[in-house]
């Protein structure tokens, strides 16, 4: 019995040791969470994930969020989405951050005596949508080549696979900078940054379509229509923004268009749409149709279609004005004059494209020679009209309208076209011959 009593005591001790071991194990397992909770330094929360949001903690532990929730985020966390997921975070209650598909960033911070803590999102790859409210925030987004300093705004920043970055500001002001300098990027403008260069001048563009993918996260009408599945959350194809015509290729000649011709009634504020409409009307009056719209820094460009012109810069008759090909000189009806004309190569063709550029920025051409094959496509590749956001922009006092004239010559049937630079006619002669100045009231 004693033996058996001893054996019972021994068994009890053994059980106690096992409990102690289990308790210790549990305590160790929960230690990071307990410690974090004790710190109380959550920098924000993951609020929603369509698909799966993965948060990799500083100690390597991974946590996941699917659907709605309130997962705390801490400094040092790496947050990422896969190819089929988008997610929404909230930092400090008034900063919303959306992660598009295949996006990854790390949350870090910087402390300065003067400014306190600045939250930094170190974007490794993918696309972030950031919206702040309630004034200037201490927030920066870093990409491998650039940094965006938030000034109270809504923007989209993208770290591309080729190592470059794009910043699209939907509203407000963002300081976008690389190691070579910074540039303030304002509402409805886009800038690009790459290694070893300063960020590009902001180009006006319709940037709202770029944020279409956030609809699934923000409980907007678009997302409510869906079932919350990944398929429904897939970003709608963005409405194409205007292509960029900047810097323009070398022109044959150019001519400034007097402001009074474009804004005859200076007592009322004119929008870009008003000016574009006036220009389109003048072009239509002279036989041009469907100009192509392009984006240029702080303005827009409107390009006429390629037309055939006479050697004196007047348009050829309508039956051959829009024919891009130079046919051999006709020998029908056959006579000596027609034959000699055909033999001696009198079947040359002159062509012209006019690009009307409206911008306060000085135009410096790219140095690349314009090519007739590309010029043929300018109208087709441009927008058919100004996007709504651009059309509402005010045509400011500093806006300058410049007609860049590209004159091409095909010396003979079957020959390659060349840019006539400089043209034998100056810009004013071209515009007068095309009767565009006249149609504008000049």
């Amino acid at each position: 019995m004693i033996f058996s009593g001893c054996s019972m005591v021994s068994a009890a001790k053994k059980w106690n040791r096992q409990y102690l071991f289990l308790f210790t194990l549990l305590a160790i397992s929960f230690f990071p969470t307990i410690a974090r909770s004790a710190d109380g330094v959550a920098v924000g929360f993951a609020k929603k994930a369509v698909g799966t949001l993965v948060v990799v903690r500083a100690d390597g532990i991974e946590e996941r969020l699917s659907g709605k929730g309130r997962m705390p985020l801490f400094e040092g966390d790496v947050v990422r989405t896969d190819d089929n997921s988008v997610a929404l975070l909230e930092l400090n209650s008034d900063i919303q951050v959306g992660l598009n598909r295949s996006t990854s960033f790390k949350i870090v911070s910087r402390w300065e005596k003067a400014n306190g803590i600045t939250r930094i999102l170190r974007l490794k790859e993918g696309m972030l949508w950031v919206k702040t409210s309630g004034g200037v925030k201490q927030l920066e987004v870093e990409t491998p080549v650039a940094i965006a300093v938030v000034k109270g705004t809504e923007f989209i920043i993208e770290a591309l696979k080729d190592g470059t970055s794009n910043l699209k500001v939907i509203e407000g002001l963002v300081e976008f900078g690389t190691a070579f300098g910074t540039c303030p990027i304002r509402t409805s403008t886009v800038s690009h940054a790459e290694q070893g260069k300063k960020c590009t001048k902001p180009v006006v563009a319709d940037v709202t379509p770029a944020a279409n993918w956030t609809a699934a996260l923000l409980d907007t009408k678009a997302s409510k229509n869906g079932g919350g599945t990944i398929a429904m959350a897939a970003p709608a194809p963005p409405a194409p923004a205007l292509p960029i015509f900047w810097p323009p290729p070398d022109a044959s000649t150019h001519q400034k268009i007097p402001r009074a011709l474009l804004v005859p009634d200076n007592t009322h504020a004119q929008t870009w749409a008003n000016v574009a409409a006036r220009m389109e009307k003048a072009l239509a009056k002279n036989g041009y149709s469907s100009p192509g719209y392009y984006s240029v820094p702080e303005g827009f460009a409107l390009i006429s279609q390629l037309e055939r012109i006479n050697p004196d810069a007047t348009p050829t008759p309508p039956n051959e004005r829009w024919k891009i090909k130079v046919d051999p000189a006709s020998i029908v009806p056959f006579n000596l004059g027609a034959y000699l004309k055909a033999l001696l190569g009198k079947d040359a063709g002159y062509f012209r494209v006019i690009a009307f550029v409206f911008t306060p920025v000085s135009i410096v051409t790219s140095g690349a020679e314009a090519n007739i094959e590309e010029a043929k496509l300018w109208v087709g590749q441009g927008g058919t009209k100004l996007p709504r956001i651009l059309s509402k922009q005010l045509y400011g006092e500093d806006m300058v309208a410049t007609a860049l004239i590209y004159e091409f010559e095909i010396p003979s049937h079957g020959e390659a076209a060349r840019l006539n630079k400089p043209s034998e006619h100056n810009g004013q002669q071209h515009l007068k011959a095309a009767k565009i100045l006249q149609a504008l009231g000049g």
Binding site: S412, G414, E415
Partner: protein, 141 residues
């Protein structure tokens, strides 16, 4: 049938110089008055087409003038006539090729390029006939 060697040689020289001269004049007009920029292409095409045969003819004429070997000599007329008509055909083709360009859809330089093969064929025949004619004379001497 026999023919005077000197007369035959003179006729061939006249045919070749007239034919080449006419084509030369036509090309000169096209390159001077035309604005198609085809000058270099035209001359590149024309000069190799006539200079070898003209050089041969001039060389033989000069040689005969020095030696006076062929005076009063007669040869069979067949080879002469063959060389003469092939030369006329070739020179005629050479002359009309650029002048036919307005009737085609291609550019002049393309027409000239396309004509090279058939012209070379006729040129080879004419040159062979000329050569055979001179060989005939030499064998008789």
């Amino acid at each position: 049938m026999l023919i005077s060697m000197t007369a035959a040689r003179h006729k061939l020289a006249i045919v070749w110089f007239s034919g080449a001269g006419l084509t030369f004049a036509a090309l000169l007009i096209i390159t001077t008055l035309g604005n198609n920029g085809h000058g270099p292409v035209l001359w590149d095409w024309f000069l190799p087409a006539v200079t070898p045969n003209l050089s041969l003819i001039v060389g033989v004429l000069v040689s005969d003038l020095r030696n006076k070997a062929t005076q009063g000599e007669s040869v069979e007329s067949f080879m002469y006539h063959l060389a003469l008509w092939l030369s006329i055909a070739y020179l005629l083709l050479l002359f009309i090729t650029p002048l036919l360009s307005p009737f085609t859809n291609a550019a002049l330089d393309v027409d000239l390029q396309n004509s090279k093969l058939p012209l070379s064929l006729v040129q080879a025949l004419a040159t062979t006939a000329l050569g055979a004619f001179y060989v005939q004379r030499e064998s008789k001497s």
